[in-house]
């Protein structure tokens, strides 16, 4: 994730940074880059050495690998769908009609970061009492993950909306005969592609890596399977972790590249994972 959460050039028009090259100390830059690279890559290299190349082949045939990975993927899809369906209309409505509530919403959406996961789980279990079948379903986790991903998804969408003159384009769309659904579908969402991709990437990454809630709820998602399998075969478990890391990284890069390509075509400027409005961006 660290590689993806680099600094952002804002679509909203953050002035380009002056191209200052510290000519007197060019070596420092390489030194910092080297230290950072070692810090991130050394553990990966250690893990790779520990597991050995042959363990990668064994991962796929391990019991539970396919089912747990598939569960995590399904949860990622469902969580992303619920998150976007909830957050996009909310953020758009607040931007257009209740701008004075933006600070309140900012504060509310940060709560899941400070509330312990176990409290969130109890809260969700209390609410879902009305649907016992849901409580025994792994999709219960999706509801919990929606809460967890809210700070990241909301901020991505909020930043995307800030980069648009939302009021004007909405009114322009209305005056041309488009109702609210058409305006949202044809005008607002296509201009939020990067923000939506950013929210998707963060949500998917969070779901694919979440362990605490899954294990407390006794569902074997992929991260839980890795930990459980660690007691059977440490090498295979580490190989699975590495495999998951690389596959996730590839998927995230792919999503980001698609977003950048679309954004360039539409003149969105330089876009990275956290899209526009750098001051609102959360480091991860």
């Amino acid at each position: 994730m660290a590689a993806l959460t680099r600094a952002i050039e804002s679509e909203a028009g953050t002035p380009p940074r002056p191209n200052r090259r510290p000519r007197s100390l060019p070596g420092w830059r390489w030194a910092i880059l080297l230290i950072t690279a070692v810090y991130f890559l050394l553990p990966l290299w250690g893990a790779l050495r520990f597991s050995g190349v042959s363990a990668f082949g064994a991962v796929i045939s391990e019991a539970g690998f396919g089912s747990s990975l598939w569960l995590s993927v399904r949860l990622a899809i469902v969580t992303t769908a619920i998150t976007l369906a909830l957050m996009v209309p909310t953020a758009v409505y607040v931007h257009l009609r209740l701008p004075q509530l933006r600070r309140v919403l900012d504060s509310i959406t940060i709560l899941p970061v400070v509330i312990p996961p176990v409290v969130l789980i109890i809260g969700v279990l209390q609410i879902t009492r009305v649907a016992p079948s849901l409580q025994s379903s792994p999709y219960l986790l999706a509801l919990e993950y929606v809460i967890l991903s809210m700070p990241f998804a909301y901020r991505s969408i909020d930043a995307g909306l800030r980069s648009l003159d939302l009021k004007t384009i909405t009114e322009a769309s209305n005056s041309l005969g488009a109702g609210w659904v058409s305006t949202l579908w044809r005008v607002i969402l296509p201009n939020l592609t990067t923000a939506l991709l950013s929210a998707t990437v963060l949500t998917v990454a969070l779901v694919l890596g979440e362990y605490t809630m899954a294990t407390l709820d006794l569902f074997q998602t992929f991260p839980v399977w890795i930990v459980v399998n660690d007691q059977v075969s440490a090498q295979v478990s580490v190989a699975a972790s590495l495999l998951a890391l690389f596959v996730t990284w590839l998927v995230l890069m792919l999503i980001t590249l698609v977003g950048v390509r679309n954004s360039r075509r539409r003149g969105g400027g330089e876009v990275t994972l956290f899209t526009a409005a750098a001051p609102q961006t959360i480091g991860n």
């Binding site: 648009l164 003159d165 004007t168 384009i169 009114e171 322009a172 769309s173 209305n174 005056s175 041309l176 005969g177 488009a178 109702g179 058409s182 044809r186 005008v187 296509p190 201009n191 592609t193 075509r265 539409r266 003149g267 969105g268």
Partner: protein
């Protein structure tokens, strides 16, 4: 802009051929699907924001095919009035009638009004052609027809070559022209222009001003145009409504607005106006100013000390050893030069004279400023 230029513009607004030649546009009413003009009636519109009355029983009648400009300083309520007509704001009291039918409860999307906004409002995800075709798409016009009409409209605003470009690839002036084409594509009953030129540089503003006026006249689209720029209002509109504090001070043709302002506010907001200390007598019918008694225009105070309001081009100035003022500065405006004179009593006035005559009036020259014979507008004294 010099006062003479304003007067010239005000007098010569109706010259579509000349304007078209200047803008270089080929206009066909078929291209934009012109329809018969629509009348617009604003009846006692009142809108209150907290303690502020943005609109205070404002009424205005716009004839079919007419272009009316609402002119006024920031916060006078002109944009609120436009937004109420568009359906983006509601009036606390009053009604908006289109062809005699009250549309107050009709949502913006169903009002059939084309609007060009002050800020660039093109949809960033669509090309110029897609932007223009958007309104037609919402009206379920078929793809081929949509593309054809969008191409015609882009051609009409001189941007046929830019049809495939996205907004970020267009200049500000081009974006506003696409926005105009987009607003006209839906064959609007009323065209609403919310300071569409204010973000553009002077040269582009002038070109686009002429282009908008030309298209509006050819298509006969009833248009409400909001601006704080008097030059724009006077040069483009059939009639101009000057607004102040939510009310219309005067609605008149540009030339009349300039030459016969109804109130001191209109007089001073439109063009340049001198305030000269004067004494009102004869029951409010005669005013003594600069030692001369002239008729007072109706509508002012009835007696006592007042200010006479006189335009720079209506004052006369000539070098005179024992004159009533001293030249303090000159501003060359082309054919005329505006001479600043300090009168006895420290009143500063501006007088327009031919540039040839102004050559003899260097700063420090003693001059005699005199007032014309005709009636002058008077207002409560503020010149002290």
């Amino acid at each position: 802009m010099g006062a003479n230029e304003i007067a010239a513009n005000a007098a010569g607004v109706d010259n579509p051929e000349a304007s078209e030649a200047a803008a270089g546009v080929a206009v066909t009413s078929e291209a934009a699907g012109a329809r018969g003009g629509t009348s617009v009636s604003l009846r006692n519109l009142t809108r209150v924001f907290g303690a502020t009355r943005a609109l205070d029983e404002m009424s205005l009648e716009i004839a079919p095919g007419e272009l009316v400009a609402l002119l006024g300083p920031s916060g006078c309520g002109k944009t609120t009035a436009l937004r109420i007509v568009a359906g983006f704001e509601y009036a606390d009291f009053g009604a908006v009638l289109i062809d005699g039918k009250d549309i107050s409860g009709v949502p913006a999307a169903k009002r059939d009004m084309g609007m060009v906004f002050q800020s660039y409002s093109l949809f960033p995800n669509m090309s110029a052609q897609e932007n223009v075709a958007f309104g037609l798409r919402m009206r379920k016009v078929g793809g081929a027809t949509r593309r054809k009409r969008a191409a015609e409209l882009l051609d009409m605003v001189g941007l046929a070559a830019q049809a495939g470009q996205f907004p970020h690839q267009l200049s500000g002036g081009q974006q506003q022209r696409v926005a105009l084409a987009r607003a006209l594509a839906i064959e609007p009953r009323v065209l609403l222009l919310d300071e569409p030129l204010s973000a553009l540089d002077a040269k582009v503003r002038l070109q686009l001003r002429e282009q908008i006026r030309t298209l509006q006249q050819r298509l006969g689209t009833t248009t409400l145009f909001v601006t704080h720029d008097q030059e724009e209002a006077l040069s483009m509109a059939d009639r101009v409504g000057v607004m102040r504090a939510g009310r219309l001070e005067q609605v008149a043709e540009p030339a009349e607005l300039y030459s016969r302002p109804a109130t001191a506010f209109v007089a001073e907001f439109v063009g340049t106006m001198n305030r000269l200390p004067a004494e009102l007598g004869g029951g409010g019918t005669a005013v003594t100013v600069l030692g001369v008694t002239v008729p007072a225009q109706e509508g002012g105070p009835s007696s006592g000390p007042v200010d006479a309001l006189v335009r720079p081009e209506n004052l006369a100035v000539a070098a005179a050893e024992d004159g009533n003022g001293i030249v303090t500065g000159r501003t060359f405006l082309g054919a005329v030069t505006r001479v600043a004179v300090r009168l006895s009593g420290d009143t500063e006035v501006a007088v327009d004279v031919s540039s040839a005559a102004a050559a003899a009036m260097a700063p420090g020259t003693a001059v005699q400023v005199s007032i014309p014979e005709g009636p002058v507008l008077v207002a409560a004294r503020t010149s002290d």
